[in-house]
Structures are given as structure tokens and as C-alpha cells.
């Protein structure tokens, strides 16, 4: 029988039939342009009305590479009460959290206070979005946990924001984006890592961001697909910088999470780093051990968008080389390139690895029982 009705979330099967999962990359949205205003001083409300956010890119509204879908999100994810996809808690519960048996959902708000040239505004927006995450999301649904969004280019202020939120159980990580003014290992960002390490919080690096650098080392490409595929190259360069600047060496308890940039590249990057480090280690004496060791001990990866080999078993080789204990399942809800939880792992994975992949690793990393 070839006919199969499309599985709809509304008629989802009972929870008991679904694997319990963590979703380590959920994107909550604001229902209106001014939803953050109650959390912002009058000065910044006025600033946003008159000047906008003044990012490290040219467009007043929207991204330079038009997305594949409105708001880069699923067309079936518009909340019935209005607003963009991801703006309604009740619809997120109904469409995603309940039917997919999400036990832990990590919120990564995008398009907020980061990648902004006015660093004071950046700090104000980050503080606002952090309060908003508690009020609108984590205080209303205990499955959801927030990320401390920080103004990435002013690390001292970012560190203060982290210290202020440290110990607040609403937050499980610090959030950065991969593209910044400089590679993420640079000294200017170290106060962020120091504060995160002190607070015992992992630092998530989500794909995207604006830092003014062309998104290839040969300048600006033409297409959205190049930007999307290119997130993995940005992430590789950011991770190489974190290793080679000695961030992982200097902050040995720091845990980094690579979010939404794939993971297939990880073994190759680690091998390449090791090989070149053998030759050139005298240039970076602060990198005391083979780079792959730091990566193995201090880096995690969220799964979405899972790489898509013709033979899916090829992916198992890569996961084995990374370690089944280092992957954190994520759907990227409500974005269009969402990975469907029931379909990402083919049969043949043992129960221990499967449980770790879907839930256990995330619980352990984020300290959620």
C-alpha cells in the first residue's frame, strides 16, 4: 500500500507512542514589532522608532539574502491568533511541544540584540529579550528554558548580563551567534567565556549574525543557499579560532555548543587542526594539546539540519567519530528547515545511543533532570 496520509500535528499519536525528546533549538518570536517596548527605556523605544537597530548590514528591515519562506519559517506555523510563526506559546505547545513529546526545549531568540553597531542599544535589547523570555515563555511552560542573549561586541557589558542572570534557573546557556566583527576566539570576547564558565553555563554559538565580514573569504556570494550552506564554514572558522586562540585551554570548564550549523564537518576539522598543529605548534604554544582533544572534551553539536547522505549509514561513521554523547537533538521549530523528530535517525541505533541523542545528552549538559 503506497498511500499514506500526511501525519498532521493536530491528530498526533498519544504521547506514550513518541520518544521523549529535548529540542535544543527553538526560536520564539515577538508577536508585534513593539512587544519588547515594556522592557525598554523610553530612550530606546524612541531610538528604535526613529533610527531602527543599525546592524552590521545595510537593510533596515529583513535580511540581505531573502529567505526561502516568510520569516524563514514553516507556513503551517502561523498562530491562529495572528503574529509571525513562533510568536504564540499556546500554538507552539499544540503544534510542537505536546505532540512531539518535548521534555526540554531550549529557546534561542534571534534577531534581537546582537549584530548591532550601537553597543548600548545592543545591551538594552539583550536585557529586554532575556526578561521577555521569562515572562512570555519559561514562567508559563516549565519545559522551556531560556538562553542569556548578550551584546556580542561589548564583552564587558555582556559578562555583566551573564553574572546578573547566573543562578536563575530559567536560563541554561549563554547565546552567541557565529558571525561577529572578529572570529570568536579573539581576546575581545574572552570576558563572555570567563563569565559563562564561572556561572557554569554552556555557551551556545548559533549559526548566523552580522559582523560586517563577507560571508566567504572571497567576498559576498549571490544566493540564500550559499549563505545557508556557508553557516557551516563560518562555524568551522569560529571553532578553529576558539581552539587556536587558546580559549578552550584557558577556560577548561567552558562548554561550547555549536547550534544549527551541522556536525558532519566536525571530524574533518579536528583532523585538519591536529595535522596542521603538528607542524605549526610553535606559533601557538598556548595550545598545549592536540586540538581534537579540546574539541572532544568541550564541544557539543545540535543536530538540525542533519547532513543528508545518499546512504544514511554513512552518517553513523561521522557520529561515531564525533561521539554519540556529543549530539543534542534539535528541530529548529518553527523554521522551514525543521527536522522531524521521528525521521532523523534511521533504524539500527541502539537504545542507549538513541536516548542520549534525543534527550540524555541535553539533560546532562544543561543540568535538567
Amino acid at each position: 500500500m503506497n498511500i499514506q496520509f500526511r501525519e498532521t500535528t493536530e491528530s498526533a499519536s498519544p504521547l506514550t507512542n513518541k520518544t521523549a525528546i529535548a529540542d535544543c533549538d527553538i526560536h520564539p518570536a515577538r508577536a508585534t514589532r513593539t512587544e519588547l517596548y515594556p522592557y525598554l527605556a523610553k530612550r530606546w523605544q524612541h531610538h528604535l522608532d526613529v533610527y531602527g537597530v543599525h546592524a552590521y548590514q545595510g537593510m533596515m528591515e529583513g535580511p540581505p539574502y531573502p529567505k526561502a519562506q516568510p520569516n524563514a519559517s514553516r507556513r503551517d506555523a502561523y498562530p491562529p491568533e495572528g503574529g509571525p510563526q513562533g510568536a504564540s506559546l499556546s500554538f507552539m505547545q499544540q503544534q510542537h511541544l505536546d505532540p512531539n513529546n518535548v521534555q526540554l526545549g531550549v529557546l534561542n531568540p534571534l534577531g534581537t540584540g546582537q549584530g548591532i553597531r550601537n553597543h548600548e542599544l545592543s545591551a538594552a535589547l539583550c536585557s529586554a529579550i532575556n526578561d521577555w523570555q521569562i515572562d512570555k515563555w519559561t514562567s508559563k511552560d516549565k519545559r522551556l528554558k531560556a538562553s542569556i542573549v548578550v551584546g556580542n561586541e561589548d564583552a564587558m557589558t555582556a559578562a555583566a548580563e551573564i553574572r546578573e542572570r547566573a543562578g536563575d534557573k530559567n536560563f541554561v546557556q549563554v547565546l552567541l551567534l557565529s558571525r561577529n566583527v572578529e572570529p570568536l576566539g579573539q581576546r575581545r570576547y574572552w570576558p563572555i567565556y570567563q563569565a559563562a564558565e564561572e556561572a557554569g553555563l554552556p555557551v551556545g554559538v548559533h549559526a548566523f549574525g552580522f559582523g560586517g565580514n563577507p560571508i566567504t573569504p572571497s567576498g559576498w556570494p549571490s544566493y540564500y543557499i550559499e549563505e545557508m550552506v556557508g553557516h557551516s564554514q563560518c562555524q568551522q572558522s569560529a571553532l578553529a579560532s576558539l581552539v587556536l586562540e587558546g580559549v578552550l585551554e584557558r577556560f577548561p570548564k567552558l562548554k561550547m555548543v555549536m547550534i544549527e550549523a551541522g556536525f558532519g564537518w566536525a571530524p574533518s576539522l579536528a583532523w585538519r587542526l591536529d595535522k596542521v598543529w603538528q607542524r605549526l605548534r610553535s606559533e601557538v604554544p598556548h595550545v598545549r594539546r592536540p586540538p581534537s582533544e579540546y574539541i572532544r572534551e568541550q564541544v557539543w553539536w545540535t543536530t538540525q539540519p542533519m547532513e543528508d547522505p545518499e546512504r544514511r549509514e554513512d552518517l553513523f561513521d561521522v557520529i561515531k567519530w564525533i561521539g554519540w554523547d556529543r549530539l543534542l537533538f534539535a528541530t529548529d521549530y518553527p523554521h522551514w528547515d525543521y527536522d522531524e523528530p521521528s525521521r532523523v535517525l534511521p533504524p539500527g541505533v541502539n537504545d542507549t545511543d538513541r536516548e542520549a541523542f534525543y534527550l540524555g545528552n541535553a539533560r546532562k549538559l544543561y543540568g535538567i533532570n
Binding site: 526561502a68 573569504p217 563560518c234 574533518s268 583532523w271 598543529w277 545518499e310
Partner: protein, 352 residues
């Protein structure tokens, strides 16, 4: 160690220009005068600092001068001991860093003439790559056509990090000329440093630039594939030189996923990225950036789903391996033959 076979083609060796003054005999009066009057210094790229360990193997490093600047050394170090039938010269002299299109054109012409006279004329096993002044597309095409009359030039050479992504339409006349003249396009590690060497900005270290070459190759493959270069030029072969290899399959899995997701954006891309790579893209063997266990290596080659993608190279005089261990452990004799002989001949129509 996997045994080498005689008659192989080394697709990536680097003869070094001893100094900018070595090109003076190949420049006209105006440019000779410019070089001397303005006190121009040697064009050495940061991609390969002369004394960096990666720039020359210790036993391939000459007592004086730049590694790779003596033909006798190259004969003694690679051409003879590896029993090569051919070695393809890819000069990495830093002419791409120049911003003036006229100056760059003069230097490229001089460099190509220097290669023909001082290397190709003196050693019949050597073949050449045409270095082009990418600041000006018309001049690049003219230089390709000028050099292509000499059949010993088998390839056009560009750096992986330049001014614009290599798939951009402005560059297509170069690809048309190469396809018409049976030249491969070689894309080599290195930067013109006209853009930050990573897509997240300037790193602090030479090692960071070198690690970053692999990411630069990935972004260029995306550009070349999605812009449709191989739809327009189906016979064109492009060779990624000193690119690394272990990233190829996972990179293509990702590209494939997004191509399926947003192919409406580039509808002219009518074949899956992996198929395009199989038919049009090749990779040089060194640096072989995988761990030494044969089991991993066998899986990596299986992930590529083709035994035709890799071309033998020593990357002379760069330090990628020791002794004669250019071939990683665990390759079958069949694969060795493909890598050393069949694949290079298929990629370079001008190798007879």
C-alpha cells in the same frame, strides 16, 4: 606504506620565483623601471611564510634561498624518486595580491614566461599552469589565450580566496576560454588577502589561515555549483589544489540537503551537487587531512562514492608527509593506479 607506482602525475608542485628581480628580464622597460624606481620588494604571500614549517619539508629546504627555487632540487626530491611522468607546476608567487590591474597583468605575463623558460624548457617532465590577472577579466582571457599556444600549459591557476566568489558570472569568460582550449581550472590554497581570510573575520595566526583554506574551498564549491558554471561549461574540469579531502563528503551532504530545500532559487542547477562534483571537480591528494588508521581512510573514500575524485600530488616543497609516504595507508593497488595515473589524465586533457 602504500606502494607508489612509476609513471604517475604529480598535480601540485611549486617552483619558487627567487625574487621579484628574477622577473625583470620578462618585464618591459616601463615595468622594469617601476619595480626599480619605486623600490618594490619581493611579493611573498602571508599564506606561505618562507620559514614556516609547512612551507618546506626539512629535507627539502635548501641551504640558501627559497624552497623550490632550484630545478635540480625538484628533480632530486620528487621527479626522480617518485618516478613521475609529469609534474604540474603551480607557482604561488604573490602576484594576486597586487591591486593595479595593469601591474598585475605585467607580473602575470612575466611569471608565465619565466615558468616556460626557466622550468618547462629545462625539464621535459614539467607542465605549467597559467597565472592570470583576475583584477581584469579581459586581460585574464587574453593571457590564457596567449599562453595556451604553448601546449605545455595544461591549466589555469587561481587562488581559493580572491575578490569575488569564483562562480560569479563576471568570471565566466575565463571558464569559456579554458573549456575551449582544453585547459583545466586549478584552484589553489592561498589568499589574495583582498578579503578577510575567514568568513568570520581576520584571525590572529598563520595556522588559522592555513586551517581556513578548507572552509574557503567549501564556499567556492558552493558558488561554482549553484551559479551554474557546469551547466554552461559541462566539459570543464576544475581541480581543487591543496584543499584537503576529508571534508568533501559531509560538505556535499549539507549542500545536497539545502539544494533540495531551496532549488527554486537556482533552478538551472539541474543535477544533484554530488553528481556535478563527480563529473567536473577533482581534488589533489596532499595535504591528506585524515587520521592514519586505514579503517577510517577506507570509510572516507567510500563516503565520496567515487574513486575518480582524487589526483596524486606531493605538494612539493610543502611539508605534508615524510620520506616517500605520499600515499596514505590502506589504498588498494587499483585505487593507487587511478589516483596516480588515470584520474590526472582524465582531468587534464592536455597531458598526453
Amino acid at each position: 606504506m602504500t606502494s607508489l607506482i612509476a609513471g604517475g602525475v604529480d598535480c601540485d608542485v611549486h617552483p619558487a620565483v627567487p625574487h621579484l628581480t628574477s622577473l625583470l628580464p620578462y618585464l618591459n622597460d616601463y615595468w622594469r623601471d617601476q619595480v626599480t624606481t619605486r623600490g618594490m620588494v619581493d611579493l611573498v604571500s602571508q599564506s606561505y611564510p618562507q620559514n614556516s614549517p609547512i612551507t618546506a619539508r626539512p629535507d627539502w629546504r635548501p641551504e640558501t634561498g627559497k624552497p623550490g627555487s632550484h630545478l635540480a632540487d625538484m628533480q632530486r626530491h620528487v621527479l626522480d624518486p617518485f618516478a613521475l611522468s609529469y609534474a604540474i607546476c603551480n607557482p604561488l608567487y604573490g602576484v594576486q595580491m597586487v591591486f593595479s590591474e595593469d601591474m598585475q597583468n605585467a607580473f602575470c605575463r612575466a611569471l608565465n614566461d619565466w615558468l616556460a623558460k626557466e622550468w618547462l624548457d629545462r625539464e621535459p617532465r614539467l607542465r605549467g599552469s597559467i597565472v592570470i590577472p583576475l583584477q581584469n577579466i579581459e586581460k585574464s582571457v587574453a593571457e590564457i589565450e596567449r599562453c595556451a599556444a604553448d601546449k605545455r600549459f595544461v591549466q589555469v591557476l587561481m587562488l581559493v580566496m580572491g575578490d569575488i566568489p569564483l562562480g560569479k558570472r563576471a568570471l565566466w569568460p575565463i571558464y569559456a576560454a579554458a573549456e575551449r582550449l582544453d585547459l583545466a581550472i586549478g584552484i589553489h590554497a592561498g589568499s589574495a588577502y583582498h578579503n578577510p581570510p575567514t568568513s568570520v573575520g581576520w584571525g590572529s595566526y598563520h595556522i588559522e589561515d592555513y586551517v581556513g583554506q578548507a572552509q574557503a574551498f567549501q564556499t567556492q564549491l558552493t558558488s561554482l555549483i549553484v551559479e551554474g558554471v557546469f551547466v554552461r561549461h559541462p566539459r570543464l574540469k576544475m581541480v581543487m589544489l591543496e584543499s584537503g579531502i576529508s571534508w568533501i563528503a559531509p560538505y556535499l551532504w549539507r549542500l545536497h540537503k539545502f539544494w533540495r530545500g531551496v532549488r527554486m532559487e537556482t533552478p538551472w542547477v539541474d543535477r544533484a551537487p554530488l553528481e556535478i562534483v563527480r563529473s567536473n571537480i577533482r581534488f589533489s591528494l596532499q595535504p591528506f587531512d585524515a587520521p592514519p588508521e586505514p579503517t577510517t581512510l577506507i570509510r572516507l573514500f567510500e563516503h565520496m562514492q567515487s574513486d575518480e575524485l582524487v589526483l596524486f600530488s606531493t605538494d612539493y616543497p610543502h611539508w605534508q608527509f615524510d620520506g616517500q609516504d605520499a600515499l596514505p595507508e590502506g589504498l588498494t593497488p587499483d585505487l593507487v593506479r587511478k589516483i596516480m595515473i588515470d584520474n590526472p589524465h582524465a582531468a587534464y586533457p592536455r597531458l598526453i
